[in-house]
Amino acid sequence: MPAIHVQYFAILREQRGLAQEELVVTVATAGELYEQLRQRHRFTLPLARIRVAVNDEFVSAETTLRDHDRVVFIPPVAGG
């Protein structure tokens, strides 16, 4: 089972209560991991409103996670 690094920003950081953590993944895809974390930590945003980045690039939620991946779940942005 892959061990990954997750970094949280903005509303997810506040709802998780920390900025990053190491996790051993028991699901296959980034989207499945978000759903698991959302239920565990009561994230308010549904997966449909989240974008995913792995190793500092945007990827689809169907991306399979691999050992040492750095994963970021991106809430709706509001720059500018």
Binding site: A10, E14, V77, G79
Partner: protein, 151 residues
């Protein structure tokens, strides 16, 4: 042609100076300012948080696209991060071109794409002490309020 994040105040005059070019006849700049109201609420200050490595990559891509789409001689964009007070510059875009039409269109393209695509988030602080992450409101959630953040 540069994109960067800035933790310190943005200086538009200094940034414009970097774009000086005797071949350019037109310079268009855009500044986003922190304003005192948003959707009817009195804003006191705000915070920008960025996922820096990806924001910098995506910002550079937006500038490259603008250069491919429009005939410009130079362009740059700086986005502020951290805690900002009313009136501060949150984002700056500058474009030079031989002619004004291309400069206007490129500047508009850069700010539109930056707002839509950069992984940057804004938290507004309101007069009463409440806060909200903009665009992150969900059903049953009071305007995205994080007045009672979980532990």
């Amino acid at each position: 042609m540069t994109f960067r994040l800035s933790p310190s105040p943005i200086d538009p005059a200094a940034l414009a100076l970097n774009l000086r070019d005797d071949a350019a006849g037109a310079f268009v700049s855009f500044e986003g300012w922190v304003r005192n109201r948003n959707e009817g609420q009195a804003v006191q200050s705000l915070e920008y948080e960025a996922y820096a490595p990806l924001a910098e990559k995506e910002g550079a891509r937006i500038l490259t696209e603008a250069r491919e789409k429009f005939r410009v001689t130079g362009l740059a964009c700086v986005h502020r991060v951290g805690h900002l007070q009313l009136g501060e510059v949150a984002v700056w875009v500058g474009v030079t071109a031989e002619h004004r039409g291309e400069a206007f269109e490129a500047a508009r393209y850069v700010i539109d794409e930056a707002k839509a695509r950069l992984p940057i988030w804004k938290k507004e602080h309101y007069a009463g002490g409440a806060t909200a992450w903009i665009n992150c409101a969900t059903r049953g959630d009071h305007a995205g309020s994080a007045a009672n953040p979980p532990a």
